[in-house]
Amino acid sequence: MAKITLNINKKDYPLEADPQMPLLWAIRDLAGLKGTKYGCGMAQCGACVVHLDGAAIRSCVTQVSRAAGKKVVTIEGLSETNSHPVQKAWQEIDVPQCGYCHSGQMMSAAVLLREKPNPTDQDIDDAMAGNICRCGTYLRIREAIHTAAELQKKTGTKG
């Protein structure tokens, strides 16, 4: 056990954690933020994607010690008012079915849109291939990412 302070969504969480603990479980069990999901635990499905200093990472295979001193953003902190272009686009297109994969999908999409403000379908396929949606909502995810790109242009909001 070690004392680790995690900065999640701009808030400090002083935690006692096994340094090997995957960041996913620190976020879910210790910080109590349940938006980040467990799907596979081995970097295969993307349900657990969060931002670590702005990069999209799979929290299920990232040791919590690696996040110390860095900024973690989870779906709960993607925006304060559920209004990040990605969130708005997801709402507008009504993307989800069960919804379980979508915090990971949106976190991946937000980084894609920051890096490539006008992503092509190919860019989307490349960036999103690591996020499984068992319900098969891929077409809507694609559409929503294009919509989010438009919204981002209008509002200038960055992911």
Partner: protein, 750 residues
């Protein structure tokens, strides 16, 4: 306004009451087949309204809260069912909030998510509930204004009278609650719908996009422990002994013990399927601590030998023997071949098939195989339980709370009314969560450790536990006469451990001489309903077989099917044909027209078509395939659906698109194999799931517009995708694919 007259269906009755603090609540109760009539009748006498829940709550401030009775697993019932209520209640959808109901079948109906049934079974009762409440509100206004009720009209939650008087539902709700519930109701006809058939957003969309804790895995209470189960490494094995000394030394670990799920003489209900009975359980403070300590468990396993289970489901009490061998896919394939050659159970016979095959000009015979498939719900199995000597609270993802409750009551020796089941949003279901074993496990663990517990399956636990889509095979034979007419059709299907045949489905009824047979092989690999059970295999086999027969007959595959359907309509063969030939033909014609079938402009695609009927609905797809990086890629799909009135078109389109993607993925990649009883796939690195880059660029979905009562939607579009993919592959590769998943590999596909 035109009206459909309806007397409140005999199976339901309504009860209104005043909410504390004013307002109205309307409860609908069913004489549900799951509860004794006595218990339901007694409700009228013993109601404690403070704790009761109904479908409709109207507050004095005109807020309307509607209750969704059925658990949500992504089929969007939390939106579509309340839309049906709101339609007849005549409220402004903007003022409506929706909550998931508690488990209470006496008041909320069957509460079952499965069989593409939610909309079908609630279509009439929910509209009646809405219409009754509206009528009572009108009556209340009429009394308050001293005018005839017939002169009071409603519009979006406002009551008005030609004299200029007007009030909101909220103003009248408390008065309405004491008006007797009307016996005769008028329901709207489809052309007057304002909410139904108009797309509405998922009522939980904002919670999903902001990461609210909606799912079973997110459910948490103070002091909750985490439990996991180490199950045997193979089907046909059981726990022999274990040593937990090292695991118990790990931080955060509270206990390791063996738990027996069902006692030896336990009578299982039909959906109490479980794979392993002696459970090695590890309990600790947090997920990671349990995951880590689990690796230190030392367990010895041994062959379980043949087991006997007592099943007391439908069809009476019976003993079932579960063979103890360690099974392998290679032996399964061999066994299936042997059984296919043996006599089987006749399921349907029309005419004289043997004679027709003898005299045929041409006989085509093909055999199709499909592997076990894992459901792989995105949220692995899990359940919360807090069980004490007096009562139990359980919460989590569950499709059929009504089937689980009696078993739970028996296992815990508690009366059903001391058991509270809360239904969380499910991260997928696909049939898997109709089997309540993980809920029972959680409850027994909680009772043992005397604490609130969350039982969690890891992905590996989930994928290797069992309850799969069965392994299937079917041999189809078709006889053509000299004029290339289909004169006989024979299907003989089998599976492990059940056969897939729906004997009364198309092309039964369209062929003079017809024979359907089935056989099965017992197995210890557990199986369960998987999105459109049996149909999901049949549609692949039968629809690619028909494609091949059409080709042999020198006919266009759609025209060939339409000819058969015409025959089935005009001069049906035999009785009990399940399907409506007109509606079946309707989706084929629609998809033909929308896809510009056989029209120029589609040359770059290899096109495959298939159609199927199940869950009272009709679906057809045209799949357009291309080669991309040397691999088959479905670039574009056209889908036609006839599921009657569509409640929420945008969400329904989402569902069909999802079914298409799911179908392509399973047709091309889905496969679970076994060696010496062990499942050879355990996570998404070796169980391939379809991904974004493999999803089509477009899936155009068209619904047949009619005013038929709604039928199933979650399952019907799924099965024919397999057949359409197979047929497109043939166009592309010039050879037929008979084994799922459809891929070129040196070894046998399954």
């Amino acid at each position: 306004m035109e009206k459909d007259k309806t007397a409140l269906s005999r199976r339901s009755f309504l009860k209104a009451s005043i909410l504390s603090g004013g307002g109205m609540m309307l409860t609908v109760s069913w004489l549900s087949s799951f509860k004794s009539a006595d218990k339901t009748e007694a409700l009228g006498l013993t109601e404690n309204w403070a704790t009761l829940n109904g479908y409709i709550h109207i507050l004095p401030n005109n807020q309307v809260k509607l209750i969704c009775p059925n658990p949500e697993f992504g089929q969007n019932v939390m939106t579509s069912l309340p839309m049906m209520l709101a339609e007849e209640l005549d409220v402004d959808w903007k003022n409506v909030s929706v909550e998931m109901g508690p488990h209470d079948q006496a008041k909320l109906g069957a509460q079952f998510t499965g069989g593409s049934n939610s909309v079908r079974m609630y279509w009439k009762p929910l509209r009646e509930a809405g219409a009754a409440a509206r009528q009572m509100l009108r009556e209340a206004a009429a009394q308050a204004w001293n005018v005839p009720a017939a002169e009071v009209t409603t519009k979006a939650g406002i009551l008005s009278h030609p004299s200029g008087k007007s009030a909101s539902y909220g103003d009248m709700a408390s008065k309405a609650a004491i008006i007797p519930v009307p016996k005769d109701l008028e329901l709207k006809v489809p052309k007057d719908f304002n909410i139904v058939s108009k797309s509405k957003k998922n009522v939980e969309i904002k919670k999903i996009t902001s990461g609210k804790p909606l799912f079973g895995l997110d459910y948490s209470v103070e002091g909750m422990l985490i439990a996991m189960i180490q199950h045997p490494p193979a089907f046909g094995m059981k726990l022999k002994s274990f040593d937990a000394a090292e695991a118990l030394k790990m931080p955060g670990i509270i206990d390791v013990f063996i738990l027996k799920l069902y006692a030896d003489d336990f009578e299982q209900g039909g959906f109490d399927t479980r794979t392993f009975n002696d459970l090695l359980v590890i309990v600790g403070n947090s997920t990671w601590e349990v995951m880590k300590a689990r690796k230190k468990l030392v367990a010895q396993w041994e062959a379980s030998g043949d087991l006997k289970d007592t099943i007391a489901g439908r069809g009476g009490k019976r003993e079932v023997t579960i063979p103890g061998a360690l099974e392998s896919t290679t032996t399964h394939m061999q066994q299936m071949k042997e059984y296919a050659a043996k006599p089987a159970q006749q399921l349907r016979r029309d005419g004289d098939p043997e004679a027709a095959f003898r005299t045929a000009d041409q006989v085509i015979e093909r055999t199709y195989n499909g592997p076990f498939l894992a459901h792989n719900c995105m949220e692995p199995m899990n359940f919360f339980a807090h069980v004490t000597d007096e009562k139990a609270l359980v919460a989590g993802p569950l499709q059929a709370p009504g089937w689980s409750e009696p078993t739970l009551a028996k296992l815990l020796n508690l009366p059903a009314d001391k058991i509270e089941i809360q239904m969380t949003r499910m991260g997928g279901g696909f049939g898997r969560r109709a089997y309540g074993h993980y809920l029972y496990e959680a409850a027994l663990i909680s009772r043992k450790v005397k604490a609130p517990v969350k039982l969690m399956y890891t992905r590996e636990d989930d994928m290797t536990y069992g309850i799969y889509r069965p392994m299937y095979t079917a041999t189809y034979r078709a006889a053509l006469d000299a004029n290339k007419n289909l004169i006989a059709f024979h299907v003989k299907g089998g599976g492990i451990p059940e056969h897939p045949i729906h004997a009364n489905r198309f092309p039964a009824g369209a062929v003079e001489n017809y024979l359907a047979e089935g056989w099965q092989i017992a197995s210890n690999i557990t199986i369960g309903a998987f999105r459109a059970p049996r149909s999901n295999f049949n549609a692949a086999a039968e629809q690619s077989f028909l494609d091949e027969v059409a080709e042999a007959a020198g006919k266009d595959p759609i025209a060939f099917r339409l000819e058969l359907l015409k025959r089935a309509k005009e001069k049906p063969v035999g009785e009990n044909n399940d399907y409506d030939a007109d509606r079946y033909a309707g989706v084929l014609e629609l998809v033909r027209d929308k896809s510009n079938w056989n029209k120029p402009g589609n040359e770059k695609y290899n096109r495959g078509v298939a159609a199927y009927f199940c869950h009272n609905s009709y679906a057809a797809h045209v799949v357009d395939m291309v080669t991309r990086d040397g691999q088959p890629y479905v670039a574009r799909v056209f889908s036609a659906m006839d599921c009657g009135i569509v409640i929420n078109p945008n969400a329904a389109t989402n569902m069909v698109q999802g079914a298409v993607v799911d179908g392509i993925g399973n047709a091309l990649y889905g496969q679970l194999t076994h060696k010496d009883g062990a499942t050879q796939q355990s996570n998404f690195h070796n169980y391939r799931m379809i991904r974004m880059n493999e999803a089509p660029k477009s899936i155009e979905v068209y619904f047949v517009q009619n005013e038929m009562d709604p039928t199933g939607l979650g399952e019907p579009p799924f099965p024919p995708v397999f057949g359409a993919v197979a047929n497109a592959l043939y166009k592309m590769k010039g050879k037929r694919y008979y084994n799922q998943p459809f891929k070129d590999e040196p070894e046998k596909s399954i």
